[in-house]
């Protein structure tokens, strides 16, 4: 009988344990006994070593991940620490300071935040950002879902050609359309209006494409049944397609929201007056006025970053799924 390599047995953890149980039976007085015992000893040893190696690997992984995590978090801690420091003395972590100083805030100057909101209308920027982001997101998800449904399920003349046109434009960089759209909006007299901030971001080929791909994976049975029951196209869309597509809709919503909230270049191009600035442009404007007032600048940064981080922490699932979706597709 060929002896199975002990290492082979160890590979599958459960199997290995079962094997140990099998190979170390009550001793018998034959020659085979020695063989068996030595076999089981090497097995145990190998198992012990395998466990040791796996533990070492895990320890190493932990150390690596922990070190990296500190690097990731450190700048955020600096941001918060600075935002809570006394103006002018924010750099507590000077060369002479002791090693534990400056990592956590030593003072809590909450009035920096109040002050930051006073020197520039941060509250107004915030509201603008919120308005633009919500309108863009709702608009994009709604129009994308409708168009995606038409492309996925309905038959009409020119469907394939039109869909190809949508796909083709996805390769075109934003820089190409940015200039003519700006000229168009200028011609319409829409520069420095909410329309200019919201409308161009509301219709994307990407959203349509992504939702179409998702709708194609839904089973048709429910729709057919609804059709037989006399449900209208719109009824099918609202009552069957949308409820079944919650994960995809949530993913698109999250990504659109993030993208719109963080968008900087377009709002910078189309807004000129303080009343229409969104938060990103407002912060840049703030920086241009008080370029070294770090405590106030960091207070503004914290106020911009915090909602996004909260949103992410509570909606992680959609991010991870969305990323995998986009990665597999390509």
């Amino acid at each position: 009988m060929e002896i199975i390599s002990p290492i082979r047995l160890l590979l599958i953890h459960v199997n290995a344990e079962a094997a140990v149980g099998l190979v170390s039976p009550v001793a018998s007085v034959s020659d085979k006994r020695k063989e068996l015992r030595s076999g089981s000893e090497t097995l145990r040893e190998a198992k012990r070593r395998a466990i040791l190696i796996s533990r070492m690997q895990k320890l190493l992984a932990y150390l690596l991940l922990a070190g990296g995590a500190i690097t990731m978090v450190l700048p955020f801690m600096w941001m918060v620490t600075t935002s809570l420091s006394k103006p002018g003395s924010f750099s507590m972590w000077s060369v002479k300071a002791r090693w534990w100083e400056g990592w956590l805030p030593l003072s809590f100057e909450w009035k920096n935040y109040v002050e930051a909101c006073k020197v520039v209308p941060l509250a107004k920027f915030y509201l603008n950002s919120l308005l633009v982001t919500v309108a863009t997101t709702v608009g994009q998800v709604a129009t994308s879902a409708m168009a995606g449904y038409a492309f996925a399920r309905l038959h009409f003349w020119g469907r394939e050609k039109l869909f190809f046109a949508y796909l083709a434009t996805m390769m075109i960089p934003g820089a190409v359309t940015m200039i003519p759209v700006f000229i168009l909006l200028r011609h319409l007299g829409w520069i420095d209006t909410y329309k200019a901030l919201i409308l161009p971001g509301m219709f994307t080929a990407y959203g349509t494409f992504m939702l179409r791909q998702f709708f194609l994976t839904l089973p048709r049975d429910l729709e057919d049944a609804a059709k037989i029951d006399g449900c209208s196209l719109f009824g099918i869309f609202i009552r069957i397609i949308l409820p079944l597509s919650k994960p995809a809709l949530a993913t698109l919503t999250t990504f659109t929201f993030m993208g719109s909230w963080m968008n900087f270049m377009w709002p910078l191009v189309v807004t000129t007056s303080e009343e229409k600035f969104v938060l990103t442009v407002g912060l840049a404007y703030f920086q241009s006025l008080y370029s070294t007032n770090w405590t106030l600048l960091m207070a503004g940064s914290v106020m911009m970053t915090a909602p996004i981080i909260l949103l992410f922490v509570f909606n992680q699932r959609f991010f991870v799924e969305g990323i995998k979706l986009s990665g597999i597709k390509g």
């Binding site: 290492i7 082979r8 700048p75 190409v176 900087f264």
Partner: protein, 298 residues
């Protein structure tokens, strides 16, 4: 009415809002932009003037344009560095550790919060006198008893680009790419590792003989997508942290397009440059389509 006609009418109704926006803000502007690329137009003094290929010729003969192209490519040094980092992190996270979700969240923070606020924070990190980076360096020097002095990061032509690269590695290393790598690693069939074990392979061998070939499509995908993104990157951080300087050393192609269009009002020239950018991106998209299957080993 025939039911197929009814369906088609319904389809057009569903399509209409998106299609109207698509025509207005995407397809017509694309055509308009292509026309503008062959004109000279400052928006103010009359209609656009047709100039043929002048914009493209001027671009090719402008040393600044090539400098900005060089900057863009230089800054892409962040791509291989952060990809290697992402893969290492994904390998570590794939060890079935407890608390992986916490790590994943923490590593994603820089990606998720990327934007003006974070670039302002990094401007502070790189500040010469009391920036955290130079304090760390000085602190390290104290520890080793050698007088170490950090560079004048963002105001030094030699250091501005490395500074931006370090920042983008920090920003990207635990983000999308790591999650894609993690998903790829979880898809490697266990049997292959078991077979490698029978052959007596150690961890290093197993990585290069099993893991690396199996996840190569992911590497290829991430690489090409990052390059395509890299050509269009660099405006936000440079605008906030360096204003494209010092001496144009952090101005990328997209930043130059912005300047030409919205600072100097050279609409035609900026459109021509945008189309050059498109052609480069298109080339890489073709590469992606043509070569993707070659990187699939199974």
């Amino acid at each position: 009415m025939k039911s197929s006609t009814k369906e088609a009418l319904g389809a057009y109704a569903f399509l209409l809002p998106n299609l109207a926006g698509f025509l207005m803000f995407t397809s017509i502007p694309v055509a308009f932009s292509l026309i503008l690329a062959f004109t000279r137009w400052d928006l103010i003094s009359g209609p656009p003037v047709f100039v043929g290929f002048d914009n493209f010729l001027r671009m090719i003969h402008d040393p600044r344009f090539w400098k900005y192209c060089g900057n863009t490519v230089y800054l892409m040094a962040a791509i291989p560095i952060s990809m290697a980092g992402s893969l290492i992190l994904a390998l570590a996270m794939n060890q079935k550790l407890r608390g992986v979700v916490v790590f994943r969240t923490v590593y994603f923070l820089p990606t998720i919060s990327a934007g003006v606020a974070i670039y302002m924070l990094w401007r502070l990190v790189y500040a010469t006198e009391f920036g955290y980076a130079n304090l760390l360096i000085a602190k390290l020097g104290n520890l080793l008893n050698i007088p170490l002095r950090g560079p004048n990061w963002l105001n030094d032509e030699r250091w501005a680009k490395p500074a931006l690269i370090i920042m983008s590695v920090w920003q990207q290393v635990g983000g999308y790419n790591m999650i894609l790598y993690l998903a790829a690693l979880q898809g490697v069939p266990r049997e292959l590792y078991e077979a490698a074990d029978i052959d007596g392979a150690n961890g290093w061998h197993k990585f290069w003989a099993v893991t690396w070939p199996i996840i190569s499509p992911t590497t290829f995908f991430i690489g090409v997508m990052s390059i395509i993104g890299g050509f269009q990157a660099g405006f936000d951080p440079a605008y906030i942290m360096t204003s494209g300087g010092p001496n144009g050393s952090t101005t990328t192609i997209i930043y130059e397009i912005y300047n030409e269009a919205f600072v100097y009002q050279h609409m035609g020239y900026a459109c021509a440059m945008a189309w050059m950018l498109f052609m480069v991106i298109f080339l890489f998209t073709l590469v992606k389509w043509k070569l993707f299957h070659r990187f699939v080993y199974y």
